[in-house]
């Protein structure tokens, strides 16, 4: 039987639920890792991350509030977003399947 494990809690920045594979990009240097439809996990959204953001099916950030860059861009793009988790880039591994719940500000994993 599958159980749900909450990995992180943050600020809900844009509603919607997406299940997908994570791509952890702490900064611009690793931007080429990003793949279409992956969940972008980053420290703080900036315009330099544009090529990665545009491919993301959801976004999770360490820093930021409801009016932060990531939150506003996610609302513009219509992708679920959780900001201000404080430790997403440290605690979420690359290439794992997670669910982002932008309504409740949760990132969880089914095990």
């Amino acid at each position: 039987m599958k159980t749900t494990k909450i990995l992180l809690k943050g600020i809900p920045a844009n509603p919607g639920i997406v299940k997908g594979i994570t791509c952890v990009i702490p900064d611009y240097a690793q931007i080429d890792k990003m793949r279409d439809g992956y969940i972008l996990v980053t420290a703080f959204s900036t315009p330099l991350l544009t090529p990665a953001i545009i491919k993301a099916s959801a976004m999770v950030t360490d820093r930021g509030g409801i009016l932060s860059h990531g939150a506003i861009v996610a609302r513009e793009l219509g992708i679920p977003c959780v900001v201000g988790t404080e430790k997403a880039t440290k605690e979420i591994q690359d290439n794992i399947e997670v669910t982002v719940d932008g309504e409740r500000g949760l990132v969880y994993r089914e095990e």
Binding site: G64, G65, E76, G78
Partner: protein, 373 residues
């Protein structure tokens, strides 16, 4: 006949202006709020403020002395939210003497006048950015071919809505690559314009997408993209700077849309919109790479250029070159104003511990030249 404006009227206008500026900025911790400056070149504003505002004041005065009206000058500057961006440096000026302060007071009043030639309410106090009158709205609705999403299969309508969101989000990010935190230099979002049946028209114009500031921008095949949408029950508001905010994505509420490129070509089919997105995506990728490679000082220099780009049409009309004076770069390079910059920066940081109303009071005085020493 030119109408004389009384001292009290001028003071009231300035009160309203700086209150609107402060309400647009205030209340959130400075490092978490929108806009999030790219590579945080925000300190540049302290280095450029005096020179930039002085150049703006001087160009305006000369053009007026040569008989140019406010409406003509405003038209040269292209859009109201772009003009509003010139208020940011007001909060970053240093060591102003009496004459310079008076010039800033005059400039602030001029800026309100320029914005008034576009906006119904120059301060957007009701949360709307209304720059088209009813007849212009009707003309647009009648003359443009809007794609009606309710009249096509649901899946196809959904695909269109996703493409609209992607195009708009990408254009937004692209404007930030071009103009950093003052991305409204390349954006004018306006509305909501009331239509029948509780619907509204919202217009998102992304323009000057190929500024000579950046070599990569020349690769984009169009200079302007406009997204006009008719929405039902949409929650959106605008602040003084023309920045919009909504509690949730607006595209699910889109009922009809029309996209134009360079005010001319209508871009309506899925393939056409995808092509438009692809071009923007490719240039954004090149731009991100180019900017990421730049040393910090060069990023700061580009930020300064983004500001001076606002004044470019005025300088060109006057037969002058538009680029920033070299002294600004020198000051940034040698950290000439470092002590003053740090002192002023601390004032903004101090806002983190204040309530929204306290921040607004402090900020309005920080930007208002009548209070600046």
């Amino acid at each position: 006949m030119v109408k004389e404006v009384s001292f009290t009227e001028k003071n009231n206008t300035l009160d309203r202006l700086f209150n609107s500026v402060a309400r647009s900025i205030g209340g959130e911790p400075p490092f978490y709020i929108w806009p999030a400056p790219l590579s945080t070149p925000a300190e540049c504003e302290f280095y450029l403020a005096n020179e930039f505002l002085s150049a703006f004041h001087s160009a305006l005065t000369t053009l007026k002395n040569r008989g140019r009206s406010s409406a003509e000058i405003a038209k040269m500057l292209k859009a109201p939210s772009r003009v509003a961006q010139t208020l940011w440096p007001f909060g970053h000026t240093t060591d102003l003497n009496g004459a310079k302060r008076q010039n800033l007071v005059d400039l602030a009043l001029d800026i309100v006048e320029l914005i008034s030639t576009y906006r119904q309410d120059p301060f957007n106090e009701d949360g709307r950015n209304i720059i088209w009158n009813d007849s212009r709205v009707n003309e647009i609705i009648l003359s443009r071919s809007f794609t009606k999403l309710e009249e096509i299969p649901k899946e196809q309508a959904e695909e269109y809505r996703n493409l609209l969101a992607k195009l708009s989000g990408l254009a937004w990010l692209y404007c930030e690559l071009l103009y950093f935190s003052i991305h409204e230099v390349g954006q004018e979002f306006h509305g909501p314009y009331d239509l029948e049946e509780n619907r509204v028209l919202l217009v998102k114009e992304y323009y000057d997408l190929r500024p000579e500031i950046w070599e990569f921008s020349g690769k984009l095949p169009y200079n302007k993209v406009s997204l006009m949408g008719i929405y039902e029950k949409v929650d959106i508001n605008f602040d003084f700077f023309g920045r919009n905010n909504s509690t949730k994505p607006i595209y699910p509420a889109c009922r009809e849309f029309c996209i134009t490129l360079d005010d001319d070509v209508e871009c309506s089919g899925v393939a056409q919109i995808e092509q438009c997105i692809k071009a923007l995506e490719e240039v954004s990728k090149i731009g991100s790479m180019e900017i990421a490679r730049l040393p910090r000082l060069e990023v700061m220099a580009k930020f300064v250029q983004a500001y001076y780009f606002i004044l470019k049409p005025l300088h060109e009309r006057l037969g002058e070159q538009w680029l920033p004076p070299h002294q600004i770069y020198e000051d940034m390079l040698h950290g000439t104003k470092k002590e003053i910059v740090e002192r002023l920066y601390e004032r903004f940081r101090g806002m983190e511990k204040k309530s929204r109303e306290e921040s607004i009071e402090i900020l309005s005085k920080l930007f208002d030249p009548r209070y600046r020493m």
